[in-house]
């Protein structure tokens, strides 16, 4: 079956994390197109650019220079144009407070950065699969909350 690809953008200032992330997606069954930016400011410039095809999912690191994850999330949520984008927080922290705060601000997914590549692959596969169900079965994205 010919599926459209899922477009994914990662904002993360750590180069190793970005590379792991891209590698992990290459091994998944669902077609994905992944691009990365180095911080929140770059992310907003990217999605605001008129030539950009908006991603289906944005992965946001919380600790980034220039514009951090929380600030980026707030800005994204201010603009109606971005309301269909699923936001996944991708962070080393996993305090219940952080998780709940970002969900309240409109994030859909919260992932604690896993310590090894295999778990990263597993987690990303799960996210893309669940997102696919939301995408193809007309589920209500407003109720899409997932913590991994």
């Amino acid at each position: 079956m010919q599926h459209d690809s899922i477009l994914i953008t990662l904002a993360d200032d750590d180069e190793d994390d970005r590379l792991f992330f891209i590698d992990a997606f290459e091994e998944l069954k669902i077609n994905t197109i992944v691009n990365t930016v180095n911080n929140g400011r770059e992310l907003l410039n990217y999605i605001n650019h008129p030539d950009t095809i908006l991603p289906n999912i944005i992965f946001l690191d919380l600790n980034m220079p220039i514009l951090n994850g929380i600030e980026s999330l707030k800005e994204i949520k201010l603009n109606d144009k971005f309301k269909d984008i699923v936001i996944a927080i991708y962070s080393t922290s996993s305090s219940d407070q952080d998780v709940e705060d970002t969900f309240v601000l409109g994030a859909n997914i919260y992932i604690k950065k896993p310590s090894n590549f295999d778990s990263l692959k597993k987690i990303l596969a799960e996210i893309v699969t669940i997102n696919w169900q939301y995408h193809t079965s007309g589920l209500n994205k407003d109720n899409f909350l997932l913590r991994l």
Binding site: M1, T129, L145
Partner: protein
């Protein structure tokens, strides 16, 4: 007299596709490996006609049939989960295979192949989605929701909710309420 004939199936099939598509006037491109691209919007009537013409040659539009069946499975599941009358005590595998006239094994295979998830997981997901809606509507307690959705206990529903979403039903409710507060302040 006898002659021996050598077939090239690919050429034959492509030729048939070509002729039939021209016959019913669909602009197209034949991509090989059994794939045809329509270069214009094709009405359902035309598509059915095309499908019938091909059936005479033992050729079937595969993906389309599959997609239709997947949609039917999904519809049946949603109906089963969301429709209160159908909370009859029938196993979902029996329900689906009777409703769709295929063996459960067949349905289950084709479903996993196309949707990347299993029927079982899809049912759980739909039940949790329904639970979320009911939580948001604020009219039923979690115990009542568990009963309505045929869970053996509220603990079972809670743990399935937590397993599926990573958060508890009460955290979900709290988050949605806070989001509403923020939205109402805007």
């Amino acid at each position: 007299m006898r002659v021996f004939i050598k077939f090239d199936f690919n050429t034959i099939c492509n030729k048939i596709l070509e002729e039939k598509l021209d016959e019913i006037q669909i602009k197209h491109r034949i991509l090989g490996f059994g794939e045809v691209e329509f270069l214009e919007k094709v009405s359902n009537e035309k598509l059915n006609l095309f499908s019938q013409l091909l059936n005479n040659y033992g050729i079937e539009i595969v993906e389309n049939q599959k997609t239709i069946l997947i949609q039917k499975i999904k519809d049946a599941i949603v109906d089963m989960v969301f429709n209160e009358d159908s909370t009859i005590n029938v196993k979902s595998s029996v329900y689906l295979s009777e409703k769709l006239n295929h063996s459960y094994g067949y349905l289950s295979n084709i479903f996993s192949e196309v949707t990347y998830t299993s029927i079982e997981n899809f049912i759980i997901m739909q039940k949790i989605e329904y639970t979320k809606q009911l939580i948001i509507n604020n009219q039923l307690s979690l115990t009542e929701i568990a009963f309505k959705l045929n869970y053996s206990s509220v603990a079972h529903l809670s743990s399935q909710f937590k397993n599926t979403t990573g958060i508890t039903p009460s955290a979900f409710q709290r988050i949605i309420n806070k989001r509403r507060e923020i939205a109402s302040k805007k």
